[in-house]
Amino acid sequence: MGMFSLSAMLVAALIAIAIMSLFGDNALFMSGLLQGAWLTVQITLLGSLLAVIMATTAALFRLYGAPPLRWLAVTYVEFFRGTSALVQLFWLFFVLPLFGISMDPFSVGVLGLGLNIGAYGAEVVRGAVQGVHRGQWEATTALNMTRWQALKRIILPQAFVAMIPPWGNLFIELLKSTALVSLITMSDLTFRAKTINDTTMQTIPIFTLALLTYLVMSLTITIGMRWLERASLRGMVRGRGR
């Protein structure tokens, strides 16, 4: 969808939330939902940070690492892409303590989701780096740059632009996966919606408000990433410089 439609949806969702919280008891449980939403935002931000770090590391290991590092990266990516996010969370939450490693649910959430999305992100980073035209590498050789200088100054900045849209999708995937932490006792937005529903039975407004709140967060990410893409494309038209 275009920027205009997305912005229109964002505004419409915000207005709908505002209007709904004016009616009946809705204002009462709205504060509970917002507290949950704040936790959701925190897990999303920290998880995204971890995902970007893991993805970049794994992709560079896989592309340029020595064989053991490459092997490690492949295992990480295949393992976390091969199993369910929920299974990974449960495993971290229920099984790791048996090996003497216990974490609080918040850390499990951030770690599990960050690792999961990071594995998908690794493929995004790898594809973007490989998508940079071979001539760019050759130019850096002709200018006698080291591989690391070439990566840092020439290749990664160009790959960065190509990575923005797929990362936008992954951040939204991560946001949506945060709902899973409600199943390991975290009071995020989904958890709040479910518990408030259990006590008040105001099913329709509660779940509608929760859905709209998630929609607002997703649209914010989408619009933000579009803006970032535009900003980094300014001046540089891809595909002509080769």
Partner: protein, 222 residues
């Protein structure tokens, strides 16, 4: 010591129970995916038809893709009964999964349909085909093969999302593993077995998709 961490007798005891649960998981996957395939195509055609209905279809897809599957599952399971539609957990889960992945599939279909050159439509107009015949006999057969791998990836993704049904107590793999864990106070074996099952099935299907992709590529080159 080793029996503390892993008990083989317990493993043997729970394996048949987990195997039964695996059948529920696979059933849910296949039924949902078939519905998602049909729904996705319908949504894609609606979106491409333009006008108001197209905008609404797009907004619906955006809404579904922007919100967590888990909360959609809750929504269908808890909200629909308020409108007099009472569903058992399995059915509610199937509806949520098919809606969610139907929206993802619609994006794939749209890309496939848009990739068919305009000239194909124009040639059919010149041959005086009806739009329905053009779509069914000329456009779809060209649009589908290139997108089979992308659709296949969503099949795997859907399969990996079935554990969410445990949140409304559908007795699929993860729910069963959790139940076994809490009954026996041993989570290690059931959770690990379930994790491995997902890993193996996902890797096998990913390899299958890659194989299919190569076969399709070969065909389109000829």
């Amino acid at each position: 010591m080793s029996a503390d961490i892993w008990s083989w007798s317990y493993t043997l005891e729970i394996l048949p129970i987990l195997a039964n649960a695996a059948i529920v998981t696979i059933e849910a996957t296949l039924i949902s995916f078939v519905i998602a395939l049909v729904l996705g195509l319908v949504l894609a055609v609606l979106r491409m038809s333009g006008a108001v209905i197209g905008w609404f279809a797009s907004a619906f897809v955006e809404l579904v893709r922007s919100t967590p599957l888990l909360i959609q599952i809750f929504f269908i399971f808890f909200v629909l009964p308020r409108f007099g539609i009472t569903l058992d957990a399995f059915t509610a889960g199937i509806i949520a999964l098919s809606l969610h992945y139907g929206c993802y599939c619609s994006e794939v279909y749209r890309a496939g349909l848009e990739a068919v050159p305009r000239g194909q439509w124009e040639a059919c107009t010149a041959l005086n085909f009806s739009s329905w015949n053009t779509f069914k006999n000329i456009i779809l057969p060209q649009a589908i093969p290139p997108i089979v791998p992308a659709l296949g990836n969503y099949l795997v993704a859907l399969f990996k999302d079935t554990p969410l049904l445990s949140a409304i107590a559908v007795a699929e793999l993860v729910q069963t593993a959790k139940n076994l864990g809490s009954e026996n106070f041993r989570y290690n074996e059931p959770m690990t077995i379930v994790g491995l099952t997902f890993l193996v099935l996902s890797l096998v299907s990913a390899a299958g998709i890659r194989w299919l992709e190569q076969r399709l590529n070969r065909r389109s080159v000829r």
